[in-house]
Symmetry: C2
Subunit: 764 residues, 2 copies
């Protein structure tokens, strides 16, 4: 028994009559019968109606979730909770060609550390670019905790375009958080280590180990982090943690919390209490308060030290210049979250039972008055917690992370230990509602909930354990994101969504209509630079360039052949396939793989990508399109022939497997003429409707027209060969003509179905 | 406008009254309001009810889908269509530690080709082991088209345990298909090439290029393919394609279809018509019919040739021994699917408008009578299509793949060009129903639909294009799996499921209750061998073993510390962390990463895994648990110190960041005593109910008991230190005592919530 259910479906169904309306056929189940069979309550039905999204429907919000140790970003729709894409970021992923084509290998290579390839990441906190504090849907940032790195993803094509390695940290957690116009992306370190790397014994922890916060300058024009305009601030050897940028009244400031301000070093193997005991001994840790505008001035004034070529403001300078202040916060906090108006900063201590709401105004007053309770061991001024607190609200056990509602003063905080979400008024300090989740929620996400204009409606609980929520799939369980309807007074959990790969930490959700991704690339785009590829190839310009020890193939991909189809190289040659997809049609992606070689391309319409390898083993290697792109996709093939070094070319003549005569040609020709009749009838149907009112169909018609133009070209070749009585080629080119016809017919039928199902009207 | 909707929701809602029942709070939406707001029809609501699965609910079927070019297997539930797991197979995946721990690297290394790492695969066709033709849910096989390989996945833990490389093929497509007791796994080649590798010019295509079919022997006891007991059959240089094993009356036989029996070699770059034209010129290709029982005898009799040490039955022997026959089939077919009773074999030609249903009885009669219409160019006897056909049924354009229903004689065939699914009676050759899908369906899947006892109820359309079905995510679209309710007379599309990663080709679905995966491993299991790891470590046995140039760490993981916490090595040392998760609790996974190093472990309860690397850069590298495993997971940390080569050890004494006095100890002690009161109240609640009726809660109680035992142990240490007036350690151990209490309380609260929500009764 999984749960107790209300057994009122029969009564409801008696009123419904839906079964009869829907059914038509005698055997179809009614709604009542379905609810009984599936043991659904009325509340379940309501939740189903709130989340179910029929074919072709769109989600209202799109969430970008960290993929945790998968090193990827997960994209899903809300409220349907359907996963739309895994974006490869730090981990190679062959479906996207990421790490398997040369263009993306160049992005991954930016993430090397000390010359070592790091082929995964521990992604934590995504951030969407903001304009005036509102999500603008242009770019996405995500950090890697394990190897301190930050990635830039374009939301035009959902591809990773840049990875930067933090030059001073050894690990980080408090990224990525953007300032209200995305001038800077904030990244705070986690576990202290000597800044810039290098060895120092743990006995010198207090003296030589340090934390840091980096302000990465984002060049929006270029869509890239500008490392030369970025800087860091040295921090005491606390474990810095999550961060947030000020906004509104607090714009120009940022906040980073911490744990283990005890600076405890474990050693359970030596009989010492473990880190977990020593790092949670004190009642409070420190919230770091930064005046980053001031830090920017200090950096620009050159008052920095260079570490690994990167500008670092020393702890002493940060103190002297009034950049850094500390405020006690309940121990082992997780989130530090600035309210939409920038007036409040909410911190949850995971071992506490209340959230602490700090007032930016009070903090400023203390700083202005130089009213400090003292300094820490590194001379950083400490503001008394009483002088900074607006309120503390007892929400429950383990408050962790806070997001905001569209309504003023309303916030949501996850309660890790209680496995609950609390909704409360943070201005008045009043609990409004609580709801239980399954189990052990980490972060939560409301819609645009960390922007200046949160959108309300939904909250997602990012639960860390699934335990008994889903069909079992072995000892490694999925995570569980639960969708909560927050539109009414009472929060309602309405959907459980398993995460099949990776452990998300934080997610951000944007109104779907703010995203305007591309459908196709400008012809010949290198998607990783966003610019025209120098190796893009136009149809008709395909060629093979050879130089000693090197073969470069400039080719094209189109339904359903690869040009060229035969490539011969010599053992030991460095081989590059530069391939451009010449399609315009939406979703007409082609892949490219060479058997037994470690390359795969995903070449979307307009894209140019490169597969490169050394042909080190003589042999015959089929290559083919790895996407099911048309009925003849299996025939989208070719051969890479790697001749043994020094082998003299065999002089044999190729013999055809099958030879064709005039009768074969006539038969194929007739088949083409017959097929044209089918096409004409489909075209007749489409043009008899208001198809121009349906953009999808207009695109399909364009694509079909392309195919028919190709068909005409193949027909010409068939006619020319027939004129020369070359029945072999005449028959085959007629076959190719027919292949293009089939593609046109396929698209036409797709358009016809769409029109029929979407209420197209007859116009003639 | 996406689709036209019936606007009858208001009328229905008037009858409903559900809103009022559900609402409670004034502002909550009624079902009517939700349907209006979301533009849902009554049919949509019915579909929602058929698919929506409330929290904690279970799916009826579990599907295993190929992940295409992602190299992985996708697991999802039916009817909820929620993805439960991506199983890493041919591609490294860090969340699962696959390719990042030494145990799984050993599995991936089995898949090297010619010494080259192949870190991806083009997975195509999964197959679940069968017993007497029924799915038994023990093991899963999947093939790699690009680099001809086959993987074995354990359905006990959903992990890949073996990869075998085909010793004779250069590419393959027609796998994996099992014989009715999984004695053999069938794998057929795709593009012809010299058998066993090596170079031959295309001019010698007809003479030196070959296809093949391999029968991999599966040793069920060992759960491994036994390569030494496997064999292949040499085939003509056609492009062999999908396959299926006979069953029932046809057990002992297998079937493989083909395309490009024209043996055409393209060369569009030289002005030749492309492969797609030349490979589809003839009206028919060949269905290969194998007597594999006979082949097994011939193999056992030693009538084979060794190629790369593998036994191959030559084409001549196959013909001479009556192992191989050909039957014409409509050109460019995709699926070849044997009916549940084994009597019929259905083939769809993708460029045809009908399915061809062959009769096994007629085929046998022809063979027995030696009634052949001739032989092919390689001497293989050809059975006349008329002598083999049961029926041809005109279903529509582009029939591709067939699956079966629970009802006798009922089959489903996907129509690629028409973008439809046809339901028909294959005994009588009568169409029963057709339904449109979006767009361009490839394979389809019915529940256990290729076994001897299909289960009916649902069909999934594996559509190859999504185009306009989902929120846009850039030029690379998800695929779309549409769930079709086939329980009534009319098929109804009831759910659209985007595939966020990879392009599935074929899927298999099994009744969920046949799967009995593990929740935890036997203590110290190497999950990739399924055996006890030689490097498993018991709590208390943790140690660091050093030898020149090598450091081996034998450690343990438990909420929330890693033992050991400090590891010092010298630059250049080879370092191995052998870590065992000592948890018993479900879902209590720990990870392990070392900053800046390319390792990540996923260590589920009971598992032992190894992270290994060379410490080639001096420095300080934090390591930590990459799974959010408790409130103090951030503190589950340690340090790897890599000393520069030859550096003399500094003699400094470690200074504590914070020192504790008796007052601190007393405060912490009191806090522990207070916390115990909370725990006692939760325990009081739980034990006052019938909690023993809930297995999930019983597990939680066990886990909480473990934590309280650990707490008692830490308390003892605190007491001992206090006795010695060592207030530093007394305070810290008291803190550790409290940490265990928090964990116990956390689990207790989880159990309490579960009991409250699942109708537990008071028993005392």
């Amino acid at each position: 028994m999984i749960r107790t259910r209300l057994k009122q479906t029969a009564a409801v169904a008696a009123l419904l009559g839906i079964g009869a309306v829907v059914a038509g056929a005698a055997q179809a189940e009614s709604l009542d019968q379905v609810m009984k069979r599936r043991n659904l309550t009325q509340k379940d039905l309501l939740s189903a109606a709130k989340t179910y999204t029929p074919t072709g429907g769109r989600d209202e919000f799109v969430a970008f979730s960290s993929g945790g140790q998968s090193g990827q970003v997960i994209v899903y729709g809300i409220p349907s909770m359907r996963i739309l894409k895994y974006i490869a970021v730090f981990t190679p992923e062959p479906w996207q060609g990421y790490g398997y084509d040369e263009e993306s290998k160049a992005v991954l290579a930016q993430g090397k550390i000390g010359g070592r390839d790091i082929t995964w990441g521990d992604t934590h906190h995504p951030a969407i670019t903001e304009t005036n504090g509102d999500y603008d849907g242009q770019w996405l940032f995500i950090n890697d905790k394990s190897s301190p790195r930050l990635a830039v993803i374009s939301l035009h094509d959902f591809e990773t375009q840049q990875i930067v390695v933090n030059p001073v940290m050894q690990s980080e957690h408090g990224g990525a958080f953007v300032t209200p116009n995305s001038d800077y992306v904030i990244e705070a370190s986690q576990y202290p280590a000597p800044l810039g790397g290098g060895f120092a014994p743990l006995e010198e922890f207090n003296e030589k180990y340090r934390g840091a916060v980096t302000y990465w300058k984002f060049d929006r024009e270029a869509g890239r982090i500008d490392q030369s305009k970025s800087f860091s601030i040295e921090l005491p050897p606390y474990s810095q943690d999550l961060s947030d940028a000020g906004k509104g009244v607090s714009d120009g400031w940022s906040f980073t919390n911490s744990f283990c301000t005890e600076r405890y070093v474990g050693g359970i193997e030596r009989g010492r209490p473990p880190f977990e005991a020593g790092c949670s001994a004190n009642d409070t840790d420190f919230l770091h308060v930064f005046n980053w505008k001031k830090a920017e001035e200090v950096y620009k004034a050159g008052k920095t030290t260079k570490i690994n070529g990167h500008d670092v403001i020393s702890l002493k300078t940060a103190v002297d210049e009034g950049i850094l202040f500390l405020i006690p916060e309940p121990k082992s906090p997780h989130g530090v979250d600035v309210s939409p108006d920038g007036k409040y900063i909410v911190v949850g201590g995971k071992l506490d039972s209340q959230v602490s709401i700090y007032s930016f105004e009070k903090i400023q007053a203390s700083i202005a008055a130089k009213k400090f309770s003292g300094v820490d061991a590194y001379g950083v001024p400490i503001i008394d917690i009483k002088d900074a607190l607006h309120k503390q609200v007892a929400l429950g056990l383990g408050p962790l992370h806070t997001q905001y509602d569209a309504k003023p003063c309303v916030a949501y905080t996850s309660l890790y230990v209680d496995s609950q979400v609390a909704k409360y008024d943070y201005c008045e300090g009043k609990i409004l509602d609580k709801v239980s989740v399954h189990y052990n929620i980490g972060h939560l996400m409301s819609m645009e909930g960390d922007s200046v204009h949160p959108k309300g409606k939904y909250v997602v609980a990012l639960n860390k354990l699934a335990i008994d929520r889903f069909n079992p799939v072995g000892p490694l369980h999925p995570q569980n994101h639960q969708l909560i309807d927050v539109s009414g007074d009472k929060m309602e959990v309405i959907y459980d969504m398993p995460l099949p790969l990776g452990e998300p930490h934080y997610s951000v959700a944007i109104a779907a209509d703010k995203l305007k991704p591309l459908v196709r690339y400008k012809f010949g785009t290198d998607s990783r630079t966003g610019k025209t590829s120098p190796v893009a190839t136009r149809p008709g310009q395909e060629r093979i360039e050879r130089s000693p020890g090197e073969v470069k193939v400039f080719g094209t991909l189109i339904r359903s052949h690869i040009t060229p189809e035969i490539v011969e190289v010599e053992e030991g040659d460095k081989v590059s396939f530069h391939l451009t997809n010449t399609e315009r049609a939406e979703d007409e992606v082609h892949g490219f793989a060479v058997s037994g070689h470690n390359v795969n391309l995903s070449v979307e319409p307009g894209k140019t990508a490169t597969a490169a390898f050394t042909a080190d083993r003589p042999g015959v290697y089929p290559y083919y399109c790895t996407e099911f792109c048309s009925a003849l996709h299996l025939e989208m093939e070719g051969y890479l022939l790697v001749k043994p070094k020094g082998l003299a070319q065999a002089a044999a003549v190729q013999t055809a497997g099958v030879t064709y005569a005039k009768g074969d040609f006539d038969k194929q020709y007739k088949s083409c003429v017959d097929t044209q009749a089918v096409i004409d009838s489909v075209v007749g149907y489409i043009t008899s409707t208001n198809f121009k009112d349906f953009p999808q169909v207009v695109s399909m018609v364009e694509d079909a027209t392309d195919q028919l133009n190709f068909a005409a070209d193949a027909r010409k070749k068939a006619d020319e060969a027939a004129k020369k009585e070359d029945w072999q080629n005449a028959t085959l080119w007629a076959g190719q003509w027919w292949q293009y016809q089939v593609k046109a017919a396929d698209i036409g039928l797709r358009a016809k179905t769409f029109l029929e199902q979407n209420g197209a009207k007859k116009v003639k």
